[in-house]
């Protein structure tokens, strides 16, 4: 186990190096970085030369890459052209709101999709099953940003039950953003839960459990759900991807001051240093998440031996 984790850590560092190379190359694809650093009114030959000298942009590319790398390790990505502040500081300010939104969305995803999926599979072919299948299907077919607008239209404009935007204020402000951010992931998990529970329900050991007279509750929760957990855990990484996409879109719709909104607006403003920092941050987050998911497999299913 320990050896496996060490191996995976080394792999992750390698992947990060590749990611950093890609991010570094992207700056060069985009044209001369000097033009992004200087304010437009200061662009003339003298100041460009001066700036190149200060930032080491005259150095050969490999050396520039190394210096980018050493600054990236210290979370220094340069000044944001949009806000004239350190990119890292701007990103840092946005992390907490996004974590809040992500956490709430995850609660929604797990709280709805998992019980509903189990219930639908157990009552296969009945009304609840039909409803949950429709929900799973519709959830993956409707654009999330449009759904957010429709929720605002229905619950804020027409019914006037919930506020349409914002993060400060009561719990009411959190409902619409977290539900829409988790919608796509919820649909995915619902589908996966239902099909994996169905698969286990059809297996021989469930028939045996029933035949030896176990109570239905025990059959369902101790034998079925527990064994279907492995498939569900396997799909957690996919859910995280869906959740991230959702957060980027939903933050923009609801004016939620998080990473997603920052990312979208930085791309729009071509604020490259912020985009670089965000790309590295997302890369690290996903490597950590995947590592955790792999370790969780062996916790959920002891038959899986890691590192052999």
């Amino acid at each position: 186990m320990r050896r496996y984790i060490a191996q995976r850590l080394i792999q992750s560092v390698l992947t990060l190096l590749i990611l950093s190379l890609v991010v570094f190359v992207l700056t060069w694809v985009s044209g001369d970085p000097v033009l992004y650093i200087l304010p437009p009114e200061m662009i003339d030959d003298d100041s460009i030369e001066e700036l190149k000298r200060i930032h080491g942009l005259d150095d050969p590319l490999p050396i520039q890459y190394l210096s980018f790398l050493s600054r990236a390790v210290r979370a220094d990505f340069g000044l944001s052209t949009q806000f004239r502040r350190s990119s890292a500081a701007i990103i840092k300010d946005r992390i907490v709101p996004s974590l809040h939104l992500g956490g709430m969305a995850l609660l929604f995803v797990l709280g709805v999709a998992f019980p509903l999926g189990v219930f639908a599979a157990y009552n296969r072919g009945k009304m609840a099953d039909a409803i949950s299948r429709t929900l799973a299907f519709a959830g993956q077919s409707v654009p999330e940003f449009w759904l957010a607008l429709m929720f605002i239209l229905l619950f804020a404009v027409i019914l006037n039950w919930l506020p349409a935007a914002g993060r400060t204020g009561g719990w009411q402000h959190w409902i619409l953003p977290s539900v829409t951010a988790g919608w796509f992931a919820m649909a995915g998990l619902l589908r996966i839960t239902r099909s994996s529970v169905l698969e286990v329900l059809g297996s021989d050991y469930i028939r045996t459990a029933r035949a030896k007279g176990l109570s239905e509750r025990s059959v369902l929760w101790r034998h079925t759900v527990r064994n279907s957990l492995i498939t569900i855990v396997t799909s957690v990484a996919l859910l995280a991807v869906g959740l991230m996409n959702g957060i980027v879109l939903v933050e923009s719709v609801f004016g939620w001051p998080g990473l997603g909104q920052l990312f979208a607006s930085s791309v729009l403003a071509r604020d490259l240093f912020v985009v670089q920092g965000m790309a590295m941050l997302v890369g690290v987050m996903f490597l950590v998440a995947n590592l955790l998911a792999d370790i969780m497999y062996s916790v959920v299913d002891p038959r899986i031996r890691l590192g052999t």
Partner: protein
């Protein structure tokens, strides 16, 4: 063996594979007729939409600003789906935008399929370090959110139609590569490949003349299942303002135009959203059906 014999060997193997997959004891479902009808309609609109549009989709009169659709009080036949803030006819914009919406998705789809299939064929056929390298990359790409990858890419180059298509392709090829590789791994051991090798076919010939026809069913199913996701991704990028550049009336752009008028002109955002949702629902229904009929192993997709 003569070249003719070689052709007939591969043709027999090919048709046997396709037939057994399509009819080999699977539970065959009825095709989703409504969804297919919607797709045909969308295709029709995509081809003839700009001609059918009754008004100029890009120019309106400000005196017609936010006219309600026909089923609301004050709606007129002149603007069946109402007008947007600039007085542009929503119906005309919808018809006009269908083409760009479909074309973007289709070009990205074909591009992704070509890249993904080529990578998958090479990875499965050659194995070795090529295979491990490709699979590492595939795993990495699957763990990254497609929207974020597309955004990073667009940040680096100027937002444009070409940038959008390339940005979608960045994550689009992965699905093909993964499943085609799996297919090739099992096909590689079949007799017809051994036969082809023994009569001296080169690697490109075996990959493209012999293996490719046998993985086409998989490719078709993945393509249909993926189109909906591509349209979603393009619409999301347009909504965030870095997708298909304005004033082109792509449906995602129309929804984004309508977000500021939910209070007094909700139809501007609702109408294109309904159209896009219908399109994606239909694509997903047809895709599910094709998967169940032609390639049920892809259920996990």
């Amino acid at each position: 063996m003569t070249p003719q014999a070689e052709v007939s060997v591969s043709r027999v193997a090919r048709s046997a594979g396709v037939i057994s997959r399509a009819y080999g004891g699977l539970s065959r479902r009825n095709p989703p007729k409504i969804a297919l009808a919607v797709l045909v309609l969308m295709l029709f609109i995509g081809i003839f939409g700009p001609v059918l549009a009754p008004k100029n989709p890009h120019v309106g009169s400000l005196s017609d600003s936010l006219e309600p659709p026909i089923w609301l009080e004050g709606g007129t036949l002149e603007f069946p789906f109402g007008t947007d803030f600039f007085g542009r006819d929503v119906l005309s914009r919808l018809l006009d935008g269908a083409r760009i919406t479909l074309v973007t998705a289709l070009v990205a789809l074909v591009g992704s399929a070509v890249v993904g299939v080529a990578v998958g064929l090479a990875s499965g056929y050659f194995g070795g370090w090529i295979d491990s390298l490709v699979m590492r990359l595939v795993d990495f790409m699957l763990a990254m959110p497609s929207l974020l990858l597309a955004l990073v890419f667009i940040a680096a180059i100027e937002p444009s139609l070409r940038a959008v298509i390339l940005a979608v392709m960045i994550s689009g090829w992965v699905g093909y590569a993964r499943y085609v590789r799996g297919d090739v791994l099992s096909q590689r051991e079949r007799e017809y490949v051994t036969a082809a090798i023994s009569i001296g076919c080169g690697a490109p010939r075996i990959m493209f003349r012999h293996l490719l026809p046998n993985v086409l069913a998989t490719v078709m199913v993945i393509a249909t299942l993926q189109t909906g996701g591509f349209i979603l991704l393009v619409a999301s990028l347009s909504f965030l303002g870095v997708g298909i550049p304005k004033p082109t009336a792509a449906w995602g752009v129309m929804i984004s135009d309508g977000r500021d008028f939910l209070l007094n002109g909700w139809w501007v955002a609702v109408v294109p959203g309904v159209a896009i949702s219908m399109l994606i629902v239909s694509l997903n229904l047809v895709g599910d059906w094709m998967r169940d009929t032609f390639d049920p192993r892809l259920r996990g997709l």
